[in-house]
Amino acid sequence: MQNQAAFEISALQPALPPQQAVTLKVNGQEKTIKLAPWVSLLDALREYLQLTGTKKGCDHGQCGACTVLVNGKRINSCLTLAIMEEGNEIITIEGLAKGDELHPLQTAFIEHDAYQCGYCTPGQICSAVGLLAEGKAKTTADIKELMSGNICRCGAYTNIVSAIEEVIQKGGQAHE
């Protein structure tokens, strides 16, 4: 069967697949866009909705740069299709602040200098928002283990952990 699948792929003409209307609810706003079913949620956010805060690192679930919240849970937006997320509540890094008031984790990341190049940061922060909501991190080691899905090429881990730790200590709740 895999054989056949491979054959089908090579036999296909390079034509673009038909697009369809998909309504996504991102950061509280509903937007209808036309896209092909193969568009990942990550690409829909970045290329169709111009929400470029969410980053593409590996596109294979291996780095966490694309982390967003769907129905309050952190996920890798590169491994889900936009069309699969129709009807769900999507929150990206752009949706965390309330107006000019930053999310406590955003503030903590700035105060702790929890980044260098900043490329992994939106994913780290969204992941940390998910971590807080899950409420499973009781120790520093727990934070490290439960944040392991976010790779930082610059190695800002120490400060990332202390930023998250501070928010947990202050009883910082996840964004409602």
Binding site: M1, Q2, N3, Q4, A5, A6, E8, I9, L12, A15, P17, A36, P37, W38, S40, D59, H60, G61, G64, T67, K73, R74, I75, N76, C78, L79, T80, L81, I83, M84, S127, G130, L131, E134, K136, A137, K138, T139, T140, A141, D142, I143, K144, E145, L146, M147, S148, G149, N150, E165, I168, Q169
Partner: protein, 343 residues
């Protein structure tokens, strides 16, 4: 990625029918494995049936004292479920040793046990792989085979099954419930995955028209004496080189029942009943553990880069058994390593 159509299944019946009517159709659940493989053109469905709307997310008690895990319950919801954590901590630990928090939020129980191998050559369409393209050969045999099988492999395929969850399910002797056009059937976990033989393109015994509806855990959960030991190149967010799910029933110092399942070593979760029987009625000593480990690895065969797994496997078995006896595998923590510093 090739072009495909997308639909959301609303009932089990329509999902099964829809799948059967299109030869290259695939179900999609969390999407964490399928989407990835579609991006590298290893999977090429022409029709995707999204099954996440089906009512298969619940975790419920079974009449026999066991627990039923819905096929669409996420790995995170399963591992953190109160009853799973309490009665089947071995399973909770195995799940939490796998992937990342984000992936576990997406991944489903059905999808987890159906995930495909992480063999580099399976992923690389420029190389030979009998699993991806039957008859093309196996590039891993003479290639970089550090992560590959040492038990139950064949000259056609030396890939390993990558799931952590499946290793615990093998030790717990779970049953997989499936529905197809012919109706329902239950597959004992040991018959679910298969060895490669001369048909490595078949990972398991699920038929093309069948959908997994749930996984049943028998009443016996080995909550008192168990361990999930996962050895890998980095401490988190990495697949196992070798993993061991151990469950023991003890009467004082005497082992009355032993279950040992290995991950990272074979095309399916690896169990050896003779080795488990060697421990039955014996006391929990290092010598006895050594005998069991030697029996499990008796027919192990290493390749150029993975022979280290034989000794590593033996030591891992012994350590997991010791941890299971002493319950030093962090009984009070979900995680596999010590975490004592409070936040």
């Amino acid at each position: 990625m090739n072009s495909f159509t997308y639909t959301r299944a609303t009932t089990l019946e329509t999902a099964v029918q829809d799948k059967a009517s299109a030869e290259l159709a695939k179900f999609i659940a969390g999407g964490t494995n399928l989407t990835d493989l579609m991006k590298v053109n290893v999977e090429g469905p022409n029709h995707l049936i999204d099954i996440r709307q089906l009512a298969l997310k619940d975790i419920t008690d079974n009449a026999d004292g066991g627990l039923r895990l819905g096929a669409l319950a996420t790995n995170a919801d399963t591992a953190y479920h109160e009853q799973v954590a309490k009665r089947y901590p071995l399973l909770a630990k195995a799940i939490l040793a796998g992937a990342s928090a984000q992936l576990r939020n997406m991944a489903t129980n059905g999808g987890n046990i159906l995930q495909r191998t992480r063999c580099y050559y399976f992923y690389d369409t420029a190389t030979a792989c009998n699993k991806r393209e039957p008859g093309s050969g196996c590039a891993a045999l003479s290639g970089f085979n550090r992560i590959h099988a040492i038990l139950g492999a064949s000259e056609h395929c030396i890939a390993v099954h990558p799931s952590d969850m499946a290793i615990a399910l093998a030790a717990l002797e779970a049953n997989v419930n499936v529905t197809g056009q012919q109706g329902n059937r239950t597959i004992p976990f040991s018959d679910f995955h298969r060895l490669p033989g001369d048909a490595p393109h078949l990972d398991n015994t699920l038929q093309p028209d069948e959908i997994i509806t749930s996984i049943d855990l028998p009443a016996k959960g080995f909550a008192q004496h168990h361990a999930y030991l996962k050895l890998r190149d980095r401490e988190s967010y990495a697949f196992a080189l070798v993993s061991v799910a151990a469950g023991l029933e003890m009467d004082g110092d005497t082992i009355t029942e032993a279950r040992i399942a290995l991950g990272g070593v074979a095309h399916k979760p690896w169990r050896n009943r003779e080795a488990e029987d060697l421990l039955t009625g014996k006391s929990a000593t290092e010598e006895n553990f050594k005998l069991a480990a030697a029996e499990i690895m008796r027919e192990a065969k290493g390749y150029e880069h993975n022979s280290f797994k034989i000794e590593l496997g033996k030591r891992a078995i012994m350590r997991a058994l010791e941890q299971a006896v002493k319950m030093s595998n962090k009984p009070d923590s979900h995680f596999h390593r010590t975490s004592t510093e409070p936040v």
